[in-house]
């Protein structure tokens, strides 16, 4: 090997070593193929796991925000602390926010505890009053119906009874009370003026499971019906907000904080209710946010384990290959091959193995992940209502989500771990003593 003094020389040398490494791999094709398939298997597992986890996490974020919570919520501090019925946000906040921040979708809500009674039983209930027009722009709550229709207006009056407001009840509540759409429901509560708020309602629909607590106690009604029942003329307990793009969450949250501060200056709030507080979905459902964080860490750890196991196989192959060729390497060293070139060559061999594995793994893993994303794993036979994890009810179909960057990350992980695993055989080679191995 002559050593040209041009700048291109080191590159040429690398290319030459690469070529030799490639040829070396196929001197024992069966062994290389086995190693590659072990790495491919590991990579596919990581890709599929990442896809399933990403799918679950996306479903979780979607459920945490889309179904009931929204991306941001505004409350009074006293309402957050102990659900103080009187800690309401002034009604005109809604109009101000909608006017000043037109990109946000805002839905007002009111809550109250009550006693729900049917002809036979009574159970504690949580009334949630929503605006049937604005709510669908923020959450899909009103469309998650198991039975009945999403109507919160006045039902048509019949000969036997005057017209009543419609309500929608939680899945478990309906089951516990034995009510179905069309049935009558009595709600008794303590109204804001201290009197006994009581009225008759018509169950218009039964919700699908949304959130365990709400399923057990939730009763949805219109804000109009709520004001009549509760004698609470104005104000809202909660403003739920949806953004068009969750990417602008931080800036939108800050804008809202500024907006509320401006409103507070114009029209100071009473001290009993505390100040208005903006919280994002991660703050509102910390369990979900924590779980997402945990899942991501778990994915990285699991990826390392799987790929690490696969590259142990590679380590074995390379050690064998290097051992077999000790004699040959001895000759190369004896005729003047630099030790670092030899080291480089062995590392090239590992890297090439890993590269082929990454290519094949991605090619095979992508369609599999795609299948998971479109078809999913269906548990609906055993769990028709889905399953609840961390207070969120999941669909019974586990769907993957293919995030291309995760495939790239998995490949990079494979390459890195393989390179790391090749250091030992490469080091071994570089330390060969020609005189000993040639004897």
């Amino acid at each position: 090997m002559s050593i040209p003094t041009t700048a291109a020389a080191p590159l040429q040398r690398l290319a030459l070593l690469l070529f030799i490494a490639w040829r070396n791999l196929w001197r024992n094709p069966a062994r290389s193929a086995l190693t590659i398939s072990a790495l491919v298997g590991g990579l596919i597992v990581v890709i599929l796991y990442a896809s399933l986890l990403e799918g679950m996490m996306r479903q979780m974020v979607r459920y945490a925000t889309e179904v009931t919570t929204g991306h941001l919520q505004i409350h009074r501090q006293a309402y957050i602390d102990d659900r103080d019925l009187y800690a309401t946000l002034p009604s005109d906040y809604l109009a101000h926010i909608e006017h000043d921040l037109p990109t946000l979708h805002v839905a007002p809500r009111l809550y109250a505890a009550a006693l729900a009674s049917s002809a036979t039983t009574s159970v504690g209930a949580l009334i949630e009053a929503v605006d049937p027009v604005r709510e669908p722009a923020v959450t899909t709550m009103l469309s998650h119906l198991r039975r009945g229709e999403a109507s919160l207006g006045l039902s048509a009056s019949t000969s036997s009874a005057a017209s009543r407001y419609n309500v929608i009840v939680g899945a478990q509540l309906a089951k516990n009370m034995g009510v179905a759409p069309g049935d009558e429901l009595v709600l008794v509560t303590q109204a804001a003026d201290g009197s006994i708020g009581n009225d008759l309602y018509r169950v218009a629909a039964v919700l699908k499971p949304l959130e365990p607590n709400f399923d057990r106690m939730g009763v949805l009604m219109s804000i109009e019906a709520y004001r009549q029942l509760m004698s609470l003329e104005s104000g809202f307990h909660e403003l739920a907000i949806k953004l068009d793009d969750i990417g602008t969450l931080a800036t939108d949250q800050q804008q809202l904080v500024d907006e509320l501060a401006a409103l507070q200056r114009q029209q100071p709030l009473d001290t009993l209710g505390g100040e208005a507080v903006v919280r994002n979905w991660q703050q509102l459902t910390p369990a979900v946010a924590d779980m997402l964080q945990l899942s991501r860490s778990m994915l990285i750890i699991l990826g390392f384990i799987v790929v690490g196991l696969a590259s142990l196989g590679m380590l074995n192959t390379m050690l064998m290959a290097v051992h077999e060729r000790s004699h040959e390497f001895g000759i190369l060293l004896a005729i003047g091959m630099k030790r670092r070139w030899l080291l480089l060559m062995v590392m090239w061999e590992s890297l090439l193995l890993a590269l082929v594995a990454a290519l094949l793994g991605s090619l095979l893993g992508l369609p599999l992940a795609h299948y998971l994303a479109t078809h999913g794993i269906d548990f609906s036979a055993s769990m028709p209502d889905g399953y609840d994890w961390g207070g969120i009810v999941f669909e019974p179909v586990m769907r993957g989500y293919l995030e291309p960057s995760q495939v790239v990350q998995a490949c990079v992980l494979t390459l890195l771990v393989s390179l790391l695993a090749s250091l030992l055989p490469a080091w071994h080679t570089a330390r060969l003593k020609p005189a000993e191995v040639l004897r």
Partner: protein, 257 residues
């Protein structure tokens, strides 16, 4: 409690024993069971009929309600709201361990589940349990005299009641201070399971009815909200009125308003 196990033969012996007891023990010595029964039936008697006004003060509102109440023994009671107009006719009926509310506006009777017994009654600081006297010292608590003697210039008994192991009661401990001569309570302090004071009820405006001194004014103060209170003023109370068990029926509940 204080009866010595002495074999007494003949009337002389008995008389002697009575004499001994009378001199050895103070006149105010009383059996706990008797005291507890006295307190339990103080506002109730065998049957009772009362009219009262309840005033609730909270940080957000103050309101008064006039009510009429009937009771028969431990098992039956009925309370009907007379004023204000908005709540008029709302009635609470207790028969044995069942409680119903009648709501005239919608003409429906709803059952109050036992899980709601500790809930606020009609927005006051009293609970459903207070109203219907679901629990009694005699049945649900183990009571003992924790103090007998003079305190703040008054001769009192201090009754400390701890719930029986399986009693479905709200409180962890109740301490009641009772006057020794009239046997009318001065005050009662209610503690939760952790031993924290939850509320204090003060009793005054005693009136002697059927030979018993009955406080006609109750003032309840929640410990955590010193600026809130609920007062009950009895404008009339009579005992021993003829009331059959059938009076306390769901049919009657709907007809009484």
């Amino acid at each position: 409690m204080l009866t010595p196990k002495v074999q007494v033969k003949g009337a002389v012996g008995l008389a002697l024993l009575c004499l001994l007891l009378a001199t050895a023990l103070p006149v105010e010595a009383i059996e706990v069971g008797e005291l507890v029964r006295h307190i339990d039936s103080l506002w109730r008697g065998e049957t009772s009929h009362a009219a009262m006004t309840m005033t609730v003060k909270t940080r957000r509102y103050e309101r008064s309600m006039t009510m009429e109440a009937w009771s028969r023994g431990k098992g039956y009671s009925l309370v009907v709201i007379r004023q204000p107009i908005k709540d008029r006719g709302i009635a609470t009926l207790k028969v044995k361990e069942n409680i119903w509310n009648y709501l005239p506006k919608i003409n429906r009777v709803t059952k109050v589940p036992s899980s709601m017994m500790s809930g606020s009654w009609m927005g006051s600081h009293f609970t459903n349990d207070d109203l219907v006297k679901e629990s009694t010292f005699e049945d649900d608590y183990d009571s003992q005299l924790s103090f007998t003697g003079s305190r703040d210039g008054q001769s009192i008994y201090e009754l400390t009641a701890l719930p029986k192991p399986n009693a479905a009661v709200v409180w962890g401990k109740v301490v009641m201070v009772i006057d020794q001569t009239t046997l009318a309570p001065y005050n009662a302090r209610y503690y939760d399971e952790e031993g924290t004071l939850v509320r204090t009820i003060r009793f005054d405006h005693n009136s002697v009815i059927d030979g018993r001194s009955v406080p006609l004014h109750l003032y309840l103060q929640p410990a955590d909200k010193p600026d809130e209170s609920t007062e009950i003023d009895y404008s009339a109370i009579e005992f021993g009125v003829p009331l059959e068990a059938s009076f306390f029926s769901l049919q009657n509940l709907q007809q009484r308003h």
